[in-house]
């Protein structure tokens, strides 16, 4: 048997697997027949709150060891990768800049490369995914949530607790791209839920990146605007 896990904000498949003590998440969870529909629509690293993920019952592993002795068991927790490109107000890479990256209790320091990129491939998978990204020389800092990015694809209720229009994921990408809005309700699933601040962000994107003017500045996430946001963000 197994259990259906209702995805919460900030969760992705490998992190959920770690919670259920399943190390090979890809084979045992993501390729499970019960998750075929979700897997066809989602990136395992970008889930939406409300997605339903089937977790098979873990199969206990039995090993024999002698009594009256101390034995060492190593549990594989797994690592995650983290990649980000930092840009300035004009969209140019902030290159060769010292940075401080804090994720939970983990701390990383280094310098951005010439493309403004920060890469870490051994982020220990834990429950704590909030942190800070600082560029002290530039006086820049933001609070980050690794794993908090929502998807952009529309889904129906068969894989989701309710219909999801991909709105929150699009707004999050707009925010990362510097357009705002400042606050996003991660459970926003419908265009009608977009706040005036969110509309302003969409209009600013349509104007600056899509070169729209006048009445074409709808502030709505039409198909062309969606595609442009995804293209600009890169995922």
């Amino acid at each position: 048997m197994g259990t259906w896990h209702l995805v919460r904000q900030g969760e992705w498949v490998s992190k959920i697997a770690a919670h259920y003590r399943i190390s090979d998440w890809e084979a045992k969870i993501w390729r499970h027949p019960n998750n075929r529909g979700l897997a066809s629509r989602r990136d395992p690293n970008v889930l939406h709150p409300g997605d339903r993920l089937f977790i098979p019952a873990p199969i206990p592993k039995q090993v024999s060891r002698s009594t009256d002795q101390t034995h060492k068991f190593v549990m594989k927790t797994g690592y995650d990768e983290f990649h980000v490109r930092v840009l300035d107000s004009e969209g140019k890479p902030i290159s060769d800049a010292p940075y401080l990256l804090i994720i939970g209790w983990q701390r990383f320091e280094g310098r951005t490369d010439r493309n403004g990129q920060i890469d870490h491939t051994r982020i220990i998978r834990t429950e704590h995914h909030e942190g800070v990204l600082s560029l002290p020389k530039q006086g820049l800092e933001c609070e980050i949530r690794v794993g908090g990015l929502n998807p952009t694809k529309k889904t129906d209720s068969s894989e989701h607790s309710r219909y999801d229009d991909g709105i929150s994921g699009l707004l999050m990408r707009l925010r990362n791209l510097g357009f705002g809005p400042k606050t996003i309700d991660e459970s926003t699933t419908d265009e009608s839920d977009v706040t005036p601040e969110g509309r302003n962000a969409i209009v600013a994107f349509q104007n600056i990146e899509m070169k729209r003017v006048g009445e074409a500045l709808t502030g709505k996430l039409d198909d062309e605007t969606r595609a442009a946001i995804i293209d600009k963000y890169g995922s």
Binding site: N45, D88, L135, P136, C142, R145, K211
Partner: protein
Amino acid sequence: MNSPTAPFKVRLIWSGKDFDEHRLSLVGSEVDGVEDEKTWQGTVADWLTQIVYQERRNVDFAVKNMNIARFHTQRFFYLDVGCWLNSKHYFGVVCGYNAAVCNFDAGWAPTDGFSGPDAWGQTVVVPPAPASTHGGALFKDFMGHYGQRDSLFCQSLYPWGGWRDPNRLYVILPDIHLPQAISQIFQDDPKYVQRWDEYHNWLNPPFLVPDGYGIGRDLFNSLSSVGALTEFLTLLANFKGKFPKAAITLVQIGDLYELWRKRDRRFEPRDNEIVLVSPGVDPFFYGDRAREVGEWISGTHFLHQELFQAFDECQSTGIECIFLHGNHDNYLSVPAVVDAANRWQSNLCGACGMTPGYTPTRVHQGRKHHFKDQIFFEHGQRVDVYNRDGATAGHENCNEANEFWKAFDPVRRESFVTGAAAMHVRKGPDLGLYVMGHTHTPELRLVEISHARRDGDPATITGTDGARAEKDTPIDLFGLTMKAAAVTTR
């Protein structure tokens, strides 16, 4: 003018341990020639509650995939719209995220369809104009014969602080310094002479001697440019008439009138406000100072009827007209003066019937500043220790100046850029473009701001146990932030 691609770099220096409490008192700048905070009389060095762009927004990333984080470095764009004097007819145009300093050549009329000859020889190569210049492109076509002296794409993204209407066109007029009296060079101009005689024969019985009328008042060579400005405003009103849905704001940046030159000072020495000296000069005729100064302004309107009619026409077509006051016309900040000037206007064609052909034109209250669409407009005297509101040195210098001395008046750009930077810090990221006049020298540049604690002042660091301790080491602001972040428990 410096290369348009090299930004101004301003380093603001803040004092004391108050810095750590986010209560800030600006003491100065590393830029040479900037007066200390105390000479700004506290106008700029108010207590601020936030200095650093600590972006307290949650940025959500995905694992494994590539993410993007676009930060907003503390920067803004700075625009000085120059002057409309002598042969220089500078003005500013802002449409969406595009700003330009332009120079208008009079005497060209647009053909039907608003396509004009490509005569903008001075155009600087700029990035491909995004569609947000649609209104600006139409305006340029219609207005025709002006050159873009310099232009920049002034994208300063911070949308959640507000956003700029990409379809609103701002036209910004610089200092004009219109004097009331005619200069000697126009003594032979029958139009001005006749008006001058009409006005003063009615206004001034022979036994009243107004102070210094007519002698050397046009120090800035304003009168020769009045015709071109009238033509410009007429074209602007026609543009609005042809494009009634166009959203246009006309901002006159201050020093529209010249009310200092060859006039006694009628304001008291004060901090940052204009208070008229008292008592009234002539109870029989002027009644009080406001009425006296109002008459000066009204006389300017009478002498330059077509120009002020063109201003009124712009307003009547639906163009939003914003008038700021500068230092030379600081009296416009006093409502009683403006009221008196408008009453003089009415009286000129009223029951007295002395000037039956005259239509009164509107005298507008001068604002200190205007802030909208991420654009902050002010004249610029705020941080000028000689000329700020209430200072008297500027008035004295103006009356002692001559053409020779005027040529050596330094621009003091660093002072004004620093003052603009401090205003940007105060207003926050919502101030994307700062616009001023005052210097008579156009400029359009990016300004980048950094901060530091004044060398020698103690720094306060929070330890892992939450205790705060003072350190004497003078350190850079961001060095401190880094250290504090390193030791603070999260």
